[in-house]
Amino acid sequence: MTTTTVEGLVPRMRQVCGAANVITDPLELRTYECDGLTSHRSVPALVVLPATADEVAAVVASCAGAGVPFVARGSGTGLSGGALPHQDGVLVVMSRMRKILEIDPVSRRAVVEPGATNLSVSKAAAPFGLFYAPDPSSQVICSVGGNVAENSGGAHCLKNGFTVHHVTGLEIVTPAGELTWLGDGTGVTTGYDLLGAFTGSEGTLGIVTKIVVKLMPLPETVHTLLAAYATTSDGGRAVSDIIGAGIVPAAIEMMDALSIEAAEAAVHCNYPQGAGAVLIVELDGPTSEVETELATVRALCEAAGATEVRAADDPAERALIWAGRRSAFAAVGRISPAYIVQDGVVPRTSLGDVLARIAALSEQAGVRVANVFHAGDGNLHPLVLYDDASPEQTVAAEELSGAILDTCLEHGGSITGEHGVGVDKSRYMPKMFSADDLDTMQLVRCAFDPASLCNPGKVFPTPRLCGEVPGHRRAPHPAVAAGLAEIF
């Protein structure tokens, strides 16, 4: 592919999106060179900002016709480089499509455009006593379309599930430039669950243009407990005991001493001084259930050796507790010149072993690691702190970060719980999946995007040539090919 081809598309793109919404100026293009993962950069050949689904379809159809790769971008907050532009391709920026199109409170559904921010959906639903459950830490800015691409979670997905559990319909533009719906908006599937397969496919199967999401009734009561411990393993024992008691809290988060120090410096969240770990447990639901669970959780936290347990019952106190947790990623910037945000998952019962292993690796490498994690579901976010002025430290930090993922896999976990594979982790995919597993996943890719133009180079370490279908290849049954029959 050459940039000449992309330049050839400019007149058509201007016709489709309007001249003001087609960016060709090199300086302006540079502002789109990365997403939230700034270590990977690539200036796109062209940026377009379509305003409607039809415009997106026309943009993609032009790219498909010219054989030009294209990448969709929401708010650009992704942490795995999923929206990293293709240097010879078109970056399709969804920020002009941010309307909340419909709220149906009785059906508990909203229809939104992909550029709408995550939080704007909950804000629009609040007057009806409803909210949109997935709540990634970046919810003020991240887009729902990006959430669909990444199958975003958030602190409260322990109880409420991920984006895929809250999306019931998607209007997409296929990589061939055709508009189609996946799912019938109700949450009941007919035929293959393409809605489920598309969600979390990291922008490689098409571009979302409308999203039907489930809304949930706002919980009647919310209680947040903060428990301080001498060590993370004490805190981990409390987590196991809570789960063992048959309680599924809305969230269970843990921070270790280093991340507490950073958060304290950044937002003065007033966490207990000298704590080796803090545990944040949030319970929500009907008042009569939450009150019962709260007493049990408090007792279990104390029994596990808490040095202090605080309950935050009003929204202001709760906000302060969460401010510390939410600020953690940015806050470590105050105690280290540079850091890597890692995202790995282990079975909850392995948390203690894995944290000990990370501590050992950290000491061995001479690189500090601050741990912030969703303890309830075993999703770790080790923050690897280093000085990027030192090439040796940089290498050591990257190696340590990789070794942490190896540790997660050794314990039966995953290389990513919520940040995605993107460009950042595609090289780790063969450690988690066999060649046959990856080949099978790419059959889906070949079904949607045989020309491999839609966000190429992401997720998979090596692309599959879609012509190479193993086994017998026969034409579809005539009745199917003639459109007389569906797959079911």
């Binding site: 149906d104 009785v106 059906s107 508990r108 990444e150 991920f162 209007e171 189609t180 996946l182 019938d184 109700t186 949450g187 009941v188 599937t189 007919t190 035929g191 293959y192 669950d193 393409l194 489920g196 039907v212 009734p217 009647e220 063992g244 048959g246 599924v248 639901g285 009907p286 009569s288 259930e289 669970e293 909850r348 969703h374 579901d377 075993g378 999703n379 976990g413 995953s414 719980g417 919520e418 940040h419 594979v421 995919m429 988690m432 597993d437 080949d439 099978t440 996943m441 889906v444 193993p470 086994g471 017998h472 290849r473 026969r474 579809p476 009745a479 007389l484 029959a485 797959i487 079911f488």
Partner: protein
């Protein structure tokens, strides 16, 4: 792909070499009336892989089978050389209670799994028959009343092992609940009805068994349909977190309607929530007869014996219009469907009496589709889940399915020879 050819001795030998528990098919192995030439019972994923590879080499058509409960739903197979049945893979491989996760072989029954999990106070939160298999439940997407709170199998499945039509073994997901590495092939296989491959293992997220349950029911006279739909809406949008919101309307428009709400939780919490839910249903529904019971009301989550089952899905706010359409379409067609299902989750099943004529059944389906129409954006569907072949031939079982062209493309990739459950395609072979 005729049966005679599969009986050629060397083919049988090849399959037996791959999977020792391979035998001739008989009348009791028939899939919707089609007798398979051979039945293979793999004892491991490796054997299933070898069996499917051998079947691929001889171009055999294949029907995967669990307990066989879903085989009659949809069209019969156009051809069935080999049934791959999963009864030798019936073990709970791993249950880590502290992780609320279980890894299970596909032939494990729901009842056996429930017994194992209950020892740790846990459950797979799906309502499926005890003798159904895990693989069958995933492949058919079976979900009952608690779909309202916990969703369908696709929502609880976190890892999958399946054997493709060409014999290749594929894994996706894993054994951690939170995991976004790679495409979710488990979603694709959920509800795929054996048309993409054979599921051999599934890993699920579990839930704690509730300490207490309570069923709140409200009865409405035939004339109080509006009260019943208002009660469904009130329950479904309440912050009392019901686990199920069901509507049951047996035997047509002249009979009473029952709204049933399941509450699960702690003993004290459930007592309080059930009381408040009964007040809510009474207030919303215009003073119906409300009862609270620790046991399920009759027919809870069960469909009556019927010749045809038609599933209607909808946005819950449109429930009054859906009931109007059901009544009108039934009257026009001269049928009296029993209507029940998870109305609060946007689905109802209309079951036609076994004596219903094929013509009348076809008219009912067409009438329903005309009345419920097609919105610019999809807002539901009318799907014939099971019906006599003549009815299935007369009406398109699935109607206009969003993304049908992409589904065909997926099938082309996974099963280019169209050997996995051929004929499950609506409209013929």
């Amino acid at each position: 792909m005729d049966t005679e050819r599969a009986l050629v001795p060397h083919i049988r030998d090849a399959l037996s070499a791959a999977c020792p528990a391979t035998r001739d098919g008989g009348a009791s192995d028939a899939v919707a009336g089609v007798v398979p030439a051979l039945v293979g019972s793999p004892a491991s994923t490796a054997e299933a892989s070898a069996l499917l590879a051998a079947a691929a080499a001889h171009d055999l058509s294949i029907v995967p089978r669990g307990a066989g409960l879903g085989l009659g739903w949809g069209l019969p197979p156009a051809s069935c050389d080999l049934v791959v049945e999963m009864s030798l893979m019936a073990e709970v491989i791993e249950h880590e209670a502290g992780d609320l996760v279980a890894r299970v072989q596909a032939g494990t029954t729901i009842g056996h799994l429930a017994t194992v999990l209950a020892q740790a106070g846990q459950q797979l939160a799906l309502d499926a028959p005890a003798h159904a298999t895990v693989g069958g439940v995933v492949a058919t997407g079976t979900a009952g009343p608690r779909r309202f709170r916990y969703g369908a199998p696709r929502d609880l499945l976190i890892g999958l092992t399946a054997v493709r039509a060409d014999g290749v073994v594929a894994h996706s997901g894993g054994k951690v609940v939170k995991n976004v590495a790679g495409y979710d092939i488990g979603k694709l296989f959920s509800g795929s009805q054996g048309t993409l491959g054979v599921i051999t293992e599934a890993t699920f997220r579990l839930h704690p068994l509730p300490a207490a349950v309570s069923y709140v029911t409200a009865e409405f006279g035939a004339a109080e349909r509006a009260g019943a739909t208002a009660a469904v809406a009130a329950a479904a949008t309440s912050a009392l977190v019901p686990s199920a919101v069901e509507l049951d309307w047996p035997g047509g428009s002249s009979r009473p309607l029952r709204v049933g709400v399941l509450i699960e939780g702690t003993a004290a919490g459930v007592a309080d929530r059930a009381r408040r839910m009964s007040e809510l249903l009474a207030a919303a529904g215009g003073a119906p007869l409300v009862a609270v019971s620790p046991t399920a009301p009759p027919r809870w989550g069960q469909l009556p014996s019927s010749s045809a089952v038609i599933r209607t899905t909808f946005w819950v706010g449109k429930l009054p219009g859906v009931l109007d359409a059901l009544v009108a379409a039934a009257a026009d067609a001269g049928v009296r469907p029993a209507v029940s299902g998870p109305a609060g989750a946007g689905a109802l099943y209309a079951c036609l009496d076994p004596r219903t004529s094929d013509d009348a059944a076809g008219r009912f389906v067409r009438g329903l589709r005309e009345r419920l129409g097609v919105s610019p954006a999809p807002r539901g569907s009318v799907v014939v889940l099971t019906a006599p072949p003549a009815v299935l031939a007369a009406v398109d079982a699935y109607g206009a399915v969003p993304g049908a062209a992409l589904m065909r493309a997926v099938k082309d990739q996974f099963d280019p020879g169209y050997r996995m459950f051929p004929g499950r395609l609506a409209g013929g072979s």
